[in-house]
Subunit: 388 residues, 2 copies
Amino acid sequence: MTPAYDDTLRDAPTETFQFHLKKTDGKARLGTITMPRGTIRTPAFMPVGTVGTVKAMYLDQVRDLGADIILGNTYHLMLRPGPERVARLGGLHELIRWPHPILTDSGGFQVMSLSSLRKLDERGVTFKSHIDGREHHMSPERSIEIQGLLDSDIQMQLDECVALPAEPREIQRAMEMSLRWAERCKVAFGDQPGKAMFGIVQGGDIEALRVKSAEGLKALDLKGYAVGGLAVGEPQEVMLRMLDATLPVLPTEKPRYLMGVGTPDDILKSVACGIDMFDCVMPTRSGRHGLAFTRRGKVNIRNARHAEDKRPLDEESSCPASRDYSRAYLHHLVRANEALGGMLLSWHNLAYYQELMQGIRKAIAEGRFADFMAETQEMWAKGDIDPV
Amino acid sequence: MTPAYDDTLRDAPTETFQFHLKKTDGKARLGTITMPRGTIRTPAFMPVGTVGTVKAMYLDQVRDLGADIILGNTYHLMLRPGPERVARLGGLHELIRWPHPILTDSGGFQVMSLSSLRKLDERGVTFKSHIDGREHHMSPERSIEIQGLLDSDIQMQLDECVALPAEPREIQRAMEMSLRWAERCKVAFGDQPGKAMFGIVQGGDIEALRVKSAEGLKALDLKGYAVGGLAVGEPQEVMLRMLDATLPVLPTEKPRYLMGVGTPDDILKSVACGIDMFDCVMPTRSGRHGLAFTRRGKVNIRNARHAEDKRPLDEESSCPASRDYSRAYLHHLVRANEALGGMLLSWHNLAYYQELMQGIRKAIAEGRFADFMAETQEMWAKGDIDPV
């Protein structure tokens, strides 16, 4: 008889990067990633620490909520404080006081969404900083170099993410170049047993291209695989169709990361497709704008119905932000544009996201993920508690 | 033999508002204010909780730093969330989760500095909200009513604070009207044994008018006295001269509160004149702008010299914000305009202010306030640690 699953226990760290697939339930997967800086229980949600801070949160709080890993944005960090400076300061972990694993993106996505006057060709991308207009160049090799200077534990290949809708020819061109860049990133990354470099499946909304991309990356035998270029405005149904086409091609013994996703419902359905890792700014960004994710769906705390409601967002939560502060106070803080409003709602939302991941892992462990998913969706559909 | 002073011990709360003058050292005074919601060790610094939140701080942190009382701004709270709403929500303490004493100002100062199109006469002041332009009227009676709806423990009379420089005739007119308003506020406040209403000495930079104001207020036999209309741009020397003129007139057995003051140096010198209570937005506002107050004077964390400095603001501090985060990280956060920068520097500054007050109280208890003042000023003059 196997002992009952205890989500509070993390496996011991290991000297090399390893993925352990512990259990499957349908296509949903329970596992751990172990490496020198710690262990990531999967399916995992990675809070986004954009520019070296999970916005409006102390990292102690982020850890206490159950985060095993956070994400840093290479684009933001390369502009400020700059990778060489971060290296001189002992690396990102030491700078921001997060000794646990960190994943960094390649910077490519934000180069394309935030910077201006960029030029993109086989060699890489030239762009102007959105902060001071200074010109920068990033090649696949430089992206890996920067991520190394940051001392990132899981590094991402540079890729080109095409905005949808796009011409099939354009999607194919970008996907093929991303594949060639993956190979260059693999070479640049070299042999670092305690760390990993993940490839990124591209191919837009065309299943055949997604399959080709996944096959090409699989042939590179990388330590993990991400699915990129989704959750960029397309319907959820398209995203899930792309996952269904892609994931069977990828090796089961490697972790799979769906980049930039998503809503709690996106996460639930993507876990059902076999995704192991997620990151998204949604809990923190929405929090700053007064939107709370709860067991009973979304709550817009700005709405007048909360103005005199003394009840908390969720009295059953163990998070102080969710349990101890009245909706009336949160409503007031958000309306008055006070920092504490964003602090409390980011805290609440990250707590809810981590609670959801804990529920997902427990359900897979107990072989009742489908039921958990149905129950969770049913609670969301019920909607918020009745107004006072 | 009296036991050594232990600043961590607060006297038990009392059913009625009481001031206990425990010791004097020169003109500096050590005491406590006791009342039903708790005890305030004086000299006290009251963090400003403008609109129901000490900006970018959890109130648990504010309490842990040693704050016995915080201040709420009647002007801000009357506009949002509104006093009647606060009352329906159980009062300000319950709304913001601060069960300890709260002092509220009368709203007068901010009406005059923030609102527009105001009309001021004997009856009170009519003004338009800086938020939505709606017209409001505040009389001395309405100010006390609002502070009562907020359930404030120490309430302030409505006064008229004249911007300096001003004509003597104008200063005298405003001072005399403020005296008449004090009397109306006293009547409106009535008999509330567990709470207090303080009068406010006005009179601009004219000693004779300050004395007249103090005499008039003393005759009203109020529970405490504030000195207002200072720290509004005049030289520190003028402020101290006004205190020297005013305080001897006030009864020794009542607490004395210097409104809106100030820098650590202002506080030290005003304690030396016999002031018991202070409030100021400086630690939180400066913190959000990257200015840190330390044992070794002011530190502008935005300066380039901190960009690669791994040392904390003050390694001897017991406050995590001061002790555990590198200057390089604080520099980065403030430069990148990240919320955590304001959170950490507000925390650090409030810690420093409370540490200063603890030092002041201990020094008075031990009869060495003059030495403490000289040592503290000497450390400030030394300036920050040498650059790396």
